[in-house]
Symmetry: C2
Subunit: 114 residues, 2 copies
């Protein structure tokens, strides 16, 4: 399921890879940042550890994020965008641009900080 399957359109491929509930947000926070699990959790409090782990594992499995585990006590794990993940930035950015306009024009709610 995680490996490429046939898509009726290429757009579908993207949704399959980064369409998960928290994936774009995770990716968003990882642009220009290497973050530990805990830091991600603080940035995305609406995601439970379980969900965060799951989404991160999928992103890792798809080669979008790097997971670097330091064999120390207490544990330390760092997440960052892989080379492949970096290639998604233009997509994320076009989404961001549109999202900003949308929120502006919808004008019903304000962005929460960050």
């Amino acid at each position: 399921m995680r490996t490429a399957k046939s898509f009726s359109c290429p757009v579908e491929a993207v949704v399959n890879l980064i369409g998960g509930k928290y994936k774009t947000v995770i990716l968003w926070h990882l642009i220009n940042n290497t973050l530990r699990f805990n830091q991600l959790q603080k940035q995305i409090p609406q995601a439970t550890p379980k969900m965060l782990t799951q989404q991160l594992r999928e992103l890792e499995h798809d080669g979008i994020v790097n997971r670097k585990v330091y064999p120390v006590v207490p544990p330390k794990t760092e997440y960052s965008l892989s080379q492949f993940g970096l290639s998604l930035i233009p997509v994320l950015d076009s989404m961001r641009k549109w999202g900003v306009e949308y929120i502006k024009s919808a004008g019903k709610q304000i962005l929460s900080e960050k």
Copy 2:
């Protein structure tokens, strides 16, 4: 749920609007095309009528697609991108570009026609 809520990042807004299982595909088929319900069904056979209706209603509710019902017998309904929906084309296109590259590099499956 369909109206704007607060997003921790604008990217999330896009996913919420067009992240639905068939939404990007629907949108994809509606670029440059006005299609009837039946035609959409043929283009997207993996979606049941129920799902298609549901996704279309959400897209309509979000002002992304226009639904034009002709009061004739037998019924005739045409779907097309709204002005707002047209603004999504750059996003869809950046996704498409990336998707094409992804599929190429994954190189495990071929695009089905169209």
